[in-house]
Amino acid sequence: MIDLIGYGAFFLSTALIFAIITLGLNLQWGLTGLFNVGIAGFVAIGAYTSAILTTPDTPDRIGGFGWPILAGWAAAMALTAAAAGFTGFATLRLKSDYLAITTFGVAVVVQLAALNAVGLTGGPFGVAFIPRPFAGLQSDPLAFNLVNLGIIAAVTLACYLALERLSRSPWGRVLRALREDERAAISLGKSARSYRIQAFAVGGAVMGLAGAVQAHFIGFIAPDNYIPTLTFQVWAMLMVGGSGSNRGAVMGAVVVWAVWIGAGWLTSALVPVDWQARAASLQIVAIGVMLCLILLGRPQGFFGPRRGRGME
C-alpha cells in the first residue's frame, strides 16, 4: 500500500513536469500558432542551467556555485526565455514547416552542446549531485516523494494560473489574432514580431522551468534525457488534451504519461528479455495509435475549443 502511494506520487510528479512543459507549448502553439519542434532543447537549457548553478564543486567541470535551488530555477527561466526569444527573433520570417525544421535544429544543437561541452555539462556523463529540495527527508522515501509531489504540483498550479491569466488578457487576445490572421492583426496596430518573440520567450521560460524542476527532482541529468522523443511526447500531450486549453494541456500530460507507462509495463511483461530494447519503441507506437484515435474521434482533443465552419 505504502509502495503504491509512493509510486503514485512518483508517477504524478513526472506527469506534472510534463504538464508544465505542455503548458509552455500551449502558449506557443495553442494560442499563437508557433510550430516549435525544439521543445527538448529548451527543457535541456533550463535543466542544465539550474544544475550547473546549484551543484557543489566537481573536478573537471565548471561549477561549484552552490546557488540556492530557487535561484537556480529563476536563472533557468531567464536563460531559457532568452534562448527561446532569440530563436523567435532569428526565425521571424519563417512559417510552419520551415519554423519546425529550424526549431528542431536548435534542439539538436543544444543536445550536441550538452554532449560535447564536457567542461560545462559533464558531457555524456551529465551532471550529478543536483541538490534535491527537502533532502533531509530522504530517509523516509514516502514523505520525500509526497513533498516532491507537493512542490511540483505547486509549480504546475502557479504556471497554470499565470498562463490562464495571460491567455485571457488582451495580450493573449493579440496572440490569438496573430494566429488567425497575421496581416489583419498588423493592420490593427499589433507588432507581429514583438508578440512572436514574446510568445517564444514566455513559452520557453515555462519549458525551462520544467526542465530545472525535473533536474532537482531526479538529482541527475544527462544528454539522453533531452532527445526528440521528449518533444514528441509533449506534442502528443497537447493534441490529446486539446490545443488551446491550459486545462487540456495538464490533463493530456497525465493521460499520455499513463498510456506511456502502461505500454512500458505491458511490453516488459509480455516481450521476452532479449527483445526488450526494441520493444521500447512500442511505447511510441502506443502513443501514435492513441493520437490517431483522438484525431479521428475528437480532433479538438478533450478540452480544446471547437473549431469549424457553420452556424451553431
Binding site: 495580450w171 489574432a177 488567425e180 490572421d181 496581416r183 496596430g189 507581429a192 465552419r309
Partner: protein
C-alpha cells in the same frame, strides 16, 4: 480641394520584380473628404492602398499623414497615427467573437503589455469594460449587434465587409481606406453601408474609397481619381470623370487586355 490634405502620396512607385504595379502615383486626400479611387482591374489600386497602409514598402516616393512623413513607418504603426484600412477580401479573425474582433482594434491598450495582467488588473478590467461597451455600440450601428458574441466565421460576405469597417472604427481613425466595400454585398446591406459611411464622414472622418460600383461612388464621393496602369490618369467630379474620353479608353483597353 479647399482644406489641406490629411493624406498625401508623392510620386509613389512600386515594382514587383518586372511588374510596375504603381508608377509615380501622386494623390492628396483633403481633410473630411470622401475621395473615390477607380480604375480598371490591375490598375494598381490595391497596391496603392498597401503602400499607404505600410504593408508594402514603396520602391520610391513619399507618404505624408497629417503633414508628417510616414513612408518608413511599419504597417503596425499606421492605425495609431490615425490611418485605418480594410481589405478587399475581408480578413476577420474567424474564431474570435465579433466583440473580440473589435476590441483588438483599440489602440494603446494597457492589457497588451505582458506584465500588465499581473501589475494592473483593475485598470485593464476598467478599460475592457469601457471598450466592450463602445464595441457593442459600433456593432449595433452596423446592424451586427445580434451576432456580437458569435465567432466571426458565421458572418456572410456582406456582413464581413461591415465588420471590417466596424473594426477600424474602434480605433477612432482620422482616415479610412476602404477597398471595394460593396463587392458581394446585397443591395439592402449596401444601402446600410452607404448610409453608415456618410454618417461616419459627417463626424469628420476622411475616406479613400476604391470601388467598382459607380452608383455608390457617385453618391458618396466628393471627388474621384482615376488610375490606369499604375499612374494617375485624371480626376474630377463623377460627371467630369465619366465624360472623359481617356477614362472610357482606359476601361475599354483594360477590358481588352
Amino acid at each position: 480641394m479647399t482644406t489641406p490634405p490629411i493624406l498625401e502620396a508623392q510620386a509613389l512607385t512600386k515594382r514587383f520584380g518586372g511588374v510596375t504595379a504603381v508608377n509615380g502615383m501622386s494623390l492628396a486626400v483633403g481633410q473630411g473628404e470622401i475621395l473615390g479611387l477607380i480604375g480598371p482591374n490591375g490598375a494598381g489600386k490595391t497596391t496603392m492602398f498597401d503602400l499607404l497602409a505600410g504593408s508594402v514598402t514603396p520602391t520610391s516616393g513619399r507618404i505624408l499623414l497629417a503633414g508628417r512623413e510616414v513612408t518608413a513607418d511599419p504597417a503596425h504603426r499606421r492605425l495609431s497615427r490615425g490611418l485605418g484600412r480594410t481589405f478587399q477580401i475581408p480578413r476577420p479573425f474567424p474564431e474570435l467573437s465579433l466583440v473580440d474582433n473589435l476590441l483588438l482594434a483599440r489602440q494603446g491598450q494597457t492589457g497588451e503589455h505582458i506584465w500588465a495582467s499581473f501589475l494592473s488588473p483593475r485598470r485593464i478590467a476598467a478599460e475592457e469594460r469601457a471598450a466592450a461597451e463602445k464595441a457593442r455600440e459600433i456593432l449595433s450601428m452596423m446592424l451586427l449587434d445580434k451576432l456580437a458574441d458569435q465567432p466571426a466565421r458565421v458572418l456572410s460576405g456582406g456582413q464581413r465587409k461591415l465588420l471590417e469597417l466596424a473594426r477600424v472604427m474602434m480605433a477612432d481613425p482620422q482616415v479610412i481606406l476602404l477597398d471595394e466595400p460593396a463587392a458581394g454585398v446585397n443591395p439592402s446591406l449596401l444601402e446600410v453601408l452607404i448610409d453608415r459611411i456618410r454618417a461616419i464622414n459627417a463626424t469628420g472622418v476622411t475616406f479613400l474609397l476604391i470601388e467598382h460600383n459607380i452608383d455608390m461612388v457617385t453618391r458618396l464621393c466628393h471627388r474621384i481619381v482615376v488610375m490606369a496602369s499604375g499612374a494617375h490618369l485624371c480626376e474630377g467630379t463623377a460627371e467630369q470623370v465619366s465624360r472623359d474620353p481617356r477614362v472610357i479608353e482606359a476601361y475599354l483597353g483594360g477590358a481588352a487586355a
